[in-house]
Amino acid sequence: MIDRQTDILIIGGSGAGISAAIAAVEKGSRVTLVSKGRIGKAGNVQMAGGSFSIDGKNAKELGYRTANDKVTPDVVFDNLVKEGYYLNDQNLVRQFVEESPRVAYELVQFGEKVGQKFAFLPPGKWFSVGRAWAAGLKAAAAAHPQIDILEDCLITHLLRSEKRVIGAAGYHIYTGEEIRVIARAVVIASGGYQVFSLQNTVTDMTGDGPAMAYRAGAKLADMEFVLCFPTALSPLRLRGSIYPYLIQVLMGKWGMPPVVRDKNGREILTPSEVYELVRGSKMEKLTACYYWGREIFAGNGTEAGGIWFDYSSYPQKKREEIVQRYIDYMSTWHRRGYYMGDDIQEVYRRILTGGYLEVGLGCEYSNGGIVVNEKMETGVEGLYAAGEATSGVFGAMRAGDGLIEMLVQGNRAGISAADYASGSEDIQETEIQYSCEREAMGKAGGADDPSYCAGTPGEIMEQCAGHDGISTVEARRKLEEIADNGFSFIRSGERIAKSRKELEQFAGQILPNMTIKEKSRTYNLELLDYHAVHNLYLCLKLGLEAADMRKESRGSHIRVDFPQVDHEHFLHRMVFGRTCDGHSVETVTPPAFKFALPKGSDADIISYLFNEEHNYLRPKMR
């Protein structure tokens, strides 16, 4: 058994976790960081495709002459709240805006030191590639060798005494060896939940953080909001790549947006005034879901559930010129003809020869997660959270950068946890004893998921030995099917209800009977999926319940049966908390210190953007 005692335990080895670890050791804390993967290669930092931004005023002060200082922190704040459909916690938005220039610039410095390239573009963003940011983070972590790092380890549950969280436990994925870390404070920085079959994230996004925090008493909110965007469907070897989005945005910016067609070749139009409004911003993801998604939802999508990008109407010369420009531009960061490690020359060939590209809407990000305040406190003593595992900063639509969220929240969580740890009482042996005897407090699935127990590998295998159901691997696919049907980019009451029913059957028949055939703990994927299935099940269950209750459309929650953005009745967050017999759900109005929350309603999520009363600034601030 790997047994550690430290000041701060950080769970997660990507942007939020590393930022938290650095902040905490710089304040003099002893830190153990446990990552499911390997530092620099774990989590979603490496997947990032485009740019990340700060406000232009601070960028100018940092010495970037081309920055547009009219895009002040106030303007960024304004955009994030309005593009989040006012559901954001404005305290978190303020923290995000105020603290992002410093932490983003630090990461760029670390990246440049190890030879990575970042192209600065106005108003205040750096264009680059995930690998460059991941390399910067890895270098930043390496510059703090006092961080004790455990890689390739899954944390399955938090340990808590009567009054506070005092550590966490899990096992090493390669050896199956058990791990226990006792700590004065714990930071969850392990990412979001990814429940769909078409995803463009790493495979780590299994909802571990939100699920274990919830079991230990933290609240979860905004679980109904997930963000999808254009993602490759074919050829199969490129499935999940985000090259279609980059092509759409960059070639679009250069005057060659794709003509989008349904399965019958009929054009799917995005009104030009809408395209002009969102062009080049993250809102382009939302409009893709809205205009293309509704056609896919209505049965007009391709067999694989997508649409077609068609470039054949552009003159050959223009196609050649734009494709060449794109290849040249991207070759700063990628091998020529490649995007990331994928050979995409086939894609260029299809654009040039008038062939079609099949594009789906793949899930990128879960807005929902652990409720935190601007100090990244969760409300459970000793427990902090940062990054995609949290909720609140982006409200109903993630219009800001996930990478910036990781950095600013990770940094803040590290500082807060270190401050708490330095003033907190020593962990008493009686508390450890208590947590061992009463591990169920953070370990058992409770009434929401009675068959789950975050036990040791041995306990779980013993529990599953007598079962005769399907494998955990197959169960995970079934869960994705349920999510695809009722929880996807476009929703209706009917499909949500059907998915909820299927999920109930899944909980009754499949979850308690899942099998693990392999008896060895050594790199056991069935054991890994046992935890993934239960954690994702919990996230999907709460997400579907919130989606059902939210009888309106807002941000990336788009319902065909309730298209209105109904501020009067639904401008609140749905907050879930664990109770003895299941869970409670509270509706909480988001804190709004800068803007009063709007009243009335907008006809749909698009007309919301054009409503002059909201005074949406983005288009004036390119």
Binding site: R131, D152, T472, V473, E518, N524
Partner: protein
């Protein structure tokens, strides 16, 4: 097509052996070795061990390396040609954790 896969667990298996899995061509048309391994895991043998617990699937993290027909390759990038028989092994010289999973490099 038929895919031959190296199997071994130290302490249990006296020596390595190969399993042959029959995977329908249509399931892996235009696919990668990772797609084939996922197919086998989901539909035929969930006990098969191959690297996927923290994987990017797009040739970025570089952690899913194995030996494809005698040459080192990333599972997520190596293309399948159903006309060519496929033999999968862990990369040599790092030690085998289990099946296709080598000791992390």
């Amino acid at each position: 097509m038929e895919i031959r896969v190296f199997r071994y667990l130290a302490g249990r298996d006296k020596e390595p052996y190969y399993d042959t899995f029959r995977v329908p061509d249509e399931a892996i048309r235009e696919a990668t070795v990772m797609d084939a391994l996922n197919y086998i895991s989901e539909n035929i043998d969930p006990t098969l061990a191959y690297y996927r617990h923290s994987a990017c699937n797009h040739g970025i993290c570089g952690r899913c390396v194995l030996e494809v027909n005698g040459k080192p390759a990333l599972a997520c990038e190596a293309r399948i040609d159903s006309a060519i028989p496929l033999v999968l092994k862990p990369v040599p010289n790092r030690g085998v954790v289990r099946d296709l999973v080598a000791v992390p490099g």
